[in-house]
Symmetry: C2
DNA sequence: CTCTCAATCTTGACAGTGTAAAGATTGTAG
DNA sequence: CTACAATCTTTACACTGTCAAGATTGAGAG
């Protein structure tokens, strides 16, 4: 990939997001600084301000992009198993867990208070809502096929998301003790969680 | 309480923790700086280093103290309703939710990656484990009284904690849309979540 | 094709941050 | 009473987010 060293970068905005994701993966959330991101993108420390109002805005963009990818993961998993209702739910949840484990720090940022004024980032809100809509659709289908308990789809979807999200969070926070993880595989743990939702 | 202005503070360590909690409540996690904490405690900006190795250590102490209080809340709620098995579970979960809502930022810090190397803070680990032990005891009692589905207590406890924790997290992150909250009270939402655990 | 301008990027500056080192103060053990 | 160790202050430094002023350049108007 030949990078011309012109004054105008050309696609700096996306390059910054990409650099941010990389730094997040390497140095964690506490190691994510605007200046480092700029450096990694081969640009001066103030250049990001041409594309992002402040650090929060960059983080919002990273999160938004993360939600886009999460959507793809969940959706493709749901599609893949749409003819096997008994497996679909667990597989979708598994995709969620995998996404979180692939890049824990990005996941944390996506669901973290790092974004203090979400309202100011409509794209972020939209993308995050789009994910919940997807979950609702999957839940609805599973209710129809009798895999999930009945009740208001919105609330059951909230239960489903909550139980998986809670599981992932406890996992990422290291609250799920090592002794449990030795006895039971992550996958089995997740399946046990999902069972709660069945009816 | 008259504060003598001596060179030696006397109980600076606890004063710093207290100041930290106050700043956390007022300015949020991003507004929590060591220097501000020191200032609030009426002490020079470097004084904290006599009691905490670094900022992480102070945060660890704040979190540890938070877990102590969380334990008290949960425990007293469990005691209060120990003769009413049908209510106990929801009430305990409600206490958890209330604790989180009372001071969202402290709660986030307690369960946040802000603590990157937990292993180095054995008190924190111990206190957090003590909470899980408590949850396990409550779950065990509820399994015995038929309020909770059977199965390995450790895993059911994980489910219970996960479902409530996930709920709280989605709530704090603003992922539970306003429209849902308008239709259904928080309490009802929680009860719906808990129902999943019943058998 | 040239001129102009708005978008983009750089440079320089500033206040706030965490933290390390060296020194000042003081309670307390001997 | 005295020395010491714990506690607190002062000073210093690198790094951070952000702003303002200026440099560079691509693209459209003439």
């Amino acid at each position: 990939m030949p990078k011309k060293k012109t004054y105008h970068h050309g696609d700096l905005k996306n390059a910054l997001i990409k650099a941010g994701v990389a730094i997040l993966a390497k140095d964690g959330v506490s190691g994510l600084s605007l200046r480092k991101v700029a450096l990694k993108a081969g640009v001066s420390h103030s250049a990001p301000y041409s594309h992002f109002a402040d650090k929060q805005a960059l983080i919002a963009a990273i999160s938004t992009e993360g939600f886009r990818q999460l959507y793809e993961r969940i959706n493709s998993s749901a599609e893949k198993y749409k003819d096997r209702p008994t497996k679909q739910l667990v597989e979708v949840a598994w995709a969620y867990v995998q996404f979180a484990m692939d890049d824990p720090d990005r996941f944390k940022v996506m669901f973290s208070d790092v974004l203090e004024k979400e309202k100011e980032y409509p794209e972020f809100v939209a993308e995050s809502q789009r994910n919940f809509q997807l979950v609702k659709r999957i839940v609805e289908a599973n209710q129809a096929s009798g895999q999930l308990r009945s009740g208001p789809t919105e609330l059951v979807a909230l239960s489903a998301w909550g139980i998986v999200h809670g599981f992932v969070m406890l996992l990422l926070e290291g609250q799920i003790s090592h002794t449990i993880l030795e006895q039971t595989s992550l996958r089995e743990l997740l399946e046990f969680q999902i069972e709660s939702l069945r009816k």
